[in-house]
Symmetry: C2
Subunit: 309 residues, 2 copies
């Protein structure tokens, strides 16, 4: 059922999609060429009106951008190169003609920025709120995908960018760390990685659990964003709590050997701030330490999807 | 955001998915191994409550089955071997705990029947009706995917199974023609193909348009299903009109050289009825012919997605 969608894309953008899409325009499915010795990395994310976005408050173009960007961030977390995006839309019928072009144009735009092609999809109308599903297909040389498991005691924990307060704007406009991930995969030994979608506190716990290790964070080393400070002015929480728990940072959390982490901190080709925030430990505890010597369990903060319902 | 979904799958089915899913369980995305010299075939379909199904009338297990089966049919239409399915759900919150297991179990079940693995997804709750999106990834040896274009004047047009009246039941329980397609790809020269999702009249027009040819159907050769006869008893339309226009048959339409079509009709290993329904022509007209010699343009029947809104 790709037919109308792809035909519409071609009409809209005046050209057939490029990239690895070899044939299949107007066919039942898209055909993608894969280079030899690559393995596939596939992720899918569904965003719903009233749950993940509010189209009465947020521009449609940013909503469309985000729908693709969250998947790109998942690919970055595995160090995969984006190839193709497949977009399914459930459009409110009364505004579909206005909504669809706006969404698709923004999606095609961010995909293109990361050498990824909108290669297919399914568009439908109904009398209910907007739903957007994006399935992203990427690739990486066999055996090189980063996983959550793989962190070892003694590894340094590194995050890109700064954390917290994403809801003030970054959650719609963040830059998925695809370029950084591809650069790192090529030039560094990374033991484990994930993207920070649910907050450092929760995502770090998952990485530690998958790796069978613990972590000791340096509280003062956590890169707290300006937005986290801003949010703290009215929330009654500290900027650090925002940095640990807000989620939707879409930064990378990496575990690397100490000498690699140090080399990374001195590497200005990475193109984004990187911070060593702590160390992986032999035990299974996840704690943080302050300069005054206090050492405590890391607060149980973070965005838990189970709470969505 | 695959994490909870895959964790839940593992818990539910008591084992990690098998197949080409090498690693990635619990990670941000799934990693799939692809055999050398294969190309990817990817399709996505979104089904919505009140548009594509009615969960107050239809069993959830059949709705889940259909959500995967329509994608399998798209892969069959390209002669691709199914590898992995990615499922996104927007679940009505009040019934999510009952709905999700029922859907997923049915999806995993039909996927497994076609050597395909549920490899990831995204589950969410909201206060609106059910939405199911399935992205299916398949593969075929490079250059062997069937396309709509490729039919040549003189080719015979062949359909599998029988057509019409699908809404009486087949649209929920149809057998995607994956096995037939893989067998045909291996043993026959097929010039063009598609699946019959919107009715023979419309899908044949699309195949002809893509191939730059016309078609002449033999009216009496069209395999009219029992359900088409049944539907005609109350619809005021003829069984043949149902066979041409109802859609959701999910049978294959193939264009093959005459000698191949004849060989196929005598091949009992195909495991399904096959009917030669007509011939591709040099001109661009799509017509049908009756035994009494009448020859008319094929009626403009078929399910047009644009009409959905």
């Amino acid at each position: 059922m790709e037919l109308e969608f792809v035909a519409w894309l071609i009409e809209r953008f005046g050209k057939t999609p490029r990239g690895p899409l070899r044939v299949g325009i107007g066919d039942d499915a898209a055909v993608l060429e894969i280079e030899p010795d690559q393995e596939l990395v596939v992720t899918t994310d569904m965003l719903m009106e009233g749950v993940h976005f509010d189209s009465s408050q947020q521009p449609l173009a940013l909503i469309g951008r985000k729908a693709v960007a969250v998947g790109l961030s998942d690919l970055a977390a595995m160090a995969a190169r984006p190839l193709a995006a497949f977009v399914s839309l459930a459009l409110p019928a009364e505004s579909a003609e206005r909504t669809a072009p706006c969404l698709i144009e923004a999606m095609a735009d961010i995909a293109q920025q990361f050498d990824c092609v909108l290669a297919g999809g399914d568009t439908n109308c109904w009398s209910q709120p907007l739903v957007i599903d994006v399935c992203l297909v990427g690739c990486c040389p066999q055996g090189t995908a980063w996983l959550r498991r793989g962190a070892r005691p003694g590894d340094q924990l590194v995050v890109t960018g700064s954390l917290g307060g994403s809801l003030l704007g970054k959650h719609l406009s963040f830059e998925p760390r695809v370029r950084q991930a591809l650069y790192l995969r090529q030039h560094y030994c990374v033991h484990a990685a994930c993207d920070l979608s649910d907050g450092l506190a929760l995502d770090l716990r998952r990485l530690c659990k998958a790796s069978g290790c613990g972590a000791l964070l340096q509280a003062e080393a956590i890169p707290v964003s300006e937005a986290a400070h801003q949010a703290a002015r009215s929330s009654g929480r500290t900027p650090l709590e925002h940095a640990l728990g807000d989620g939707e940072d879409f930064e990378l959390l990496l575990a690397l050997p100490p000498q690699e982490a140090q080399r990374l901190c001195e590497d200005d080709r990475i193109g984004v701030a990187v911070s060593v925030v702590g160390t992986c430990t032999q035990d299974s505890q996840v704690r943080w330490q302050w300069k005054d010597g206090r050492c405590e369990p890391l607060p149980q903060l973070g965005y838990c999807h189970g709470a969505r319902s």
